[in-house]
């Protein structure tokens, strides 16, 4: 069964017909040529397909595209230039560069989108598994950042750099391997 859907992807209106079995990830990569989200496990276990969907971090491999008609998708590539020009890196992207938050880079677009989502969730006061006091304020300490980023695996093991990058943008003292 084919259905027409409309999406906003990285600021561009896109309209396409899609087989109901197609995942949002495959639609982005194979039909719309948006290759920033990566296919790692394709089963919701690695986080490399993470995008910001209607403002929140979201997997695209466990999402049927047809169910997201009308949604706004921002990929890691779409974060670049969000300051108003085409070249300025998003602060999270710049921090990943500054802190060597990657080696092969395959998981990086998902890590970046997830980090942007984490910072928004911290800003909204969302608690996490390691938050001591559920009814108090949340702090962006290393334990919190590690727990909140646990849905994004990095097989190169660039975690110290990833943590340093997210820590810097979260407003904590810079450190780690940089």
């Amino acid at each position: 069964m084919e259905t027409r859907i409309r999406l906003t992807v990285d600021g561009r209106q896109r309209e396409t017909s899609v087989d109901t079995r197609t995942t949002l990830l495959d639609l982005l990569r194979e039909r719309l040529d948006v290759t920033s989200p990566k296919k790692g496990c394709d089963h919701g276990q690695c986080g490399s397909c993470t995008v910001l969907l209607d403002g929140r971090r979201h997997l695209t491999c466990l999402a049927l595209a047809v169910a997201y008609d009308g949604s706004e998708v921002v990929t890691a590539a779409g974060l670049t230039g969000s300051e108003g020009d085409d070249e300025t890196l998003h602060p999270v992207q710049q921090a990943f560069l500054d802190h060597d938050g990657y080696q092969c880079g395959y998981c990086t677009p998902g890590q970046v989108c997830s980090a942007v989502g984490v910072l928004r969730e911290l800003g909204e006061g969302h608690p996490s598994h390691v938050t001591e006091d559920l009814t108090g304020p949340v702090a962006a300490d290393d334990d919190e950042l590690r727990e909140r980023m646990s849905g994004n695996l990095c097989r190169c093991g660039a975690y110290p750099g990833i943590l340093a990058a997210v820590r810097e943008v979260a407003g904590q003292p810079a450190g780690g391997i940089a």
Partner: protein, 337 residues
């Protein structure tokens, strides 16, 4: 993957009519489990009825109806996302075990996607259930159980049968069992309320059925009665890595002590132990009226686990769930939620 017809439901009754009238139709919520099963060949529906945009997305403080026990409580719409429910101020203060259980499950991305109703309807992560090249009575009734005599680390220790030894994967469900939640279900003949303990079932000779719901019945809400114990509740999950893993065992507990430090009210539910969230009523009874010392809690757990059946691969669960229960009740006495 099989060809799929897709319908976006306009209202809950219409969705129920579509699915209940077609044995090959399935509800689609957040899709975190079902879309995976479509890819794996574990689920092969012909029709998906997408309920994710139905306006069942509110968390409301309400007076509960009589058949949910009455009194003040919380009504949680079935489409409330796991992340939103965990972060809701009323849940964090009145039912902290629910927040803790949700935050112990999955990842930040998945919690934004997964719904309250869908979490309760998710299926086991038994490696054989998810591998269509192996025998599994839950996936293919009558084909046998590969987990008996196979990889046993996650297997049940209570309430299993010769047909199925798997456990229920949800963290939220364990918390809801401990706070006496009520599930609001819409079927072709109207609405009914199901006490949480009656939602999931033990495998018996029909492990293909995870719940007592009929095909086409839809969870529309979950109701949480308020209590002093629920406000002093927490969740502990033991797992093979510190985050983003299913439970080996887990404990949801709610505790109210009297002025002398004796148990006035206690509710304990275990995850990773059985085919359904295991409400430990024998242990609760043993603790009522007594000071919940480590020794008493251990003895109460031993009573609850008297019928435990283990193999070499999962025998660790008996001491692990006992220690986790001791830890949780100690934490609650210390005021940690």
């Amino acid at each position: 993957m099989r060809e799929l017809d897709y319908h976006r439901a306009d209202d809950a009754a219409g969705a129920v009519a579509l699915v209940s009238g077609d044995p090959e139709a399935s509800f689609l919520g957040g899709g975190t489990n079902l879309v995976d099963h479509l890819k794996l060949g574990v689920a092969r529906p012909r029709v998906l009825v997408d309920i994710s945009r139905l306006p069942l997305d509110q968390v409301e403080e309400v007076e509960l109806p009589g058949d949910s026990g009455g009194g003040p409580g919380l009504r949680v719409g079935a489409n409330v996302r796991n992340s939103d429910l965990a972060a809701h101020p009323a849940v964090r203060s009145g039912w902290p075990v629910v927040s803790r259980a949700l935050l112990a499950g999955a990842s930040g991305q998945l919690r934004h996607q997964a719904t309250t109703g869908g979490n309760l309807m998710q299926r086991t992560r038994c490696v054989y259930f998810q591998d269509v090249t192996t025998a599994c009575n839950k996936r293919e009734p009558g084909s046998g159980c590969s987990a008996i005599g196979g990889y046993a680390r996650y297997n049940a220790v209570l309430g299993a049968s010769e047909h199925c030894v798997t456990v229920h994967p949800s963290d939220l469900a364990v918390a809801l069992a401990a706070v006496d939640a009520v599930v609001v279900v819409l079927g072709p003949d109207g609405e009914r309320r199901v006490p949480f303990e009656e939602l999931h079932r033990l495998p018996g000779d029909a492990p293909e059925r995870d719940t007592t719901l009929a095909h086409g019945e839809l969870i529309t809400a979950v109701e949480l009665p308020a209590s002093a114990a629920a406000a002093t509740s927490t969740y502990h999950k033991a797992r093979d890595r510190a985050s983003y893993a299913f439970a080996l065992v887990s404990v949801a507990a709610a505790l109210e002590l009297d002025e002398a430090g004796r148990v006035a009210d206690v509710r304990i539910a275990w995850g990773g132990i059985a085919h359904k969230p295991w409400r430990a009523r024998v242990a609760e009874q043993a603790l009522l009226g007594a000071e919940p010392t480590e020794e008493r809690v251990a003895a109460a757990c031993a009573d609850e686990l008297a019928d435990a059946r283990t193999s070499e691969g999962n025998a660790f669960k008996v001491p692990m769930v006992t220690a986790a229960t001791q830890h949780v009740l100690q934490s609650l006495q210390g005021g940690r939620r």
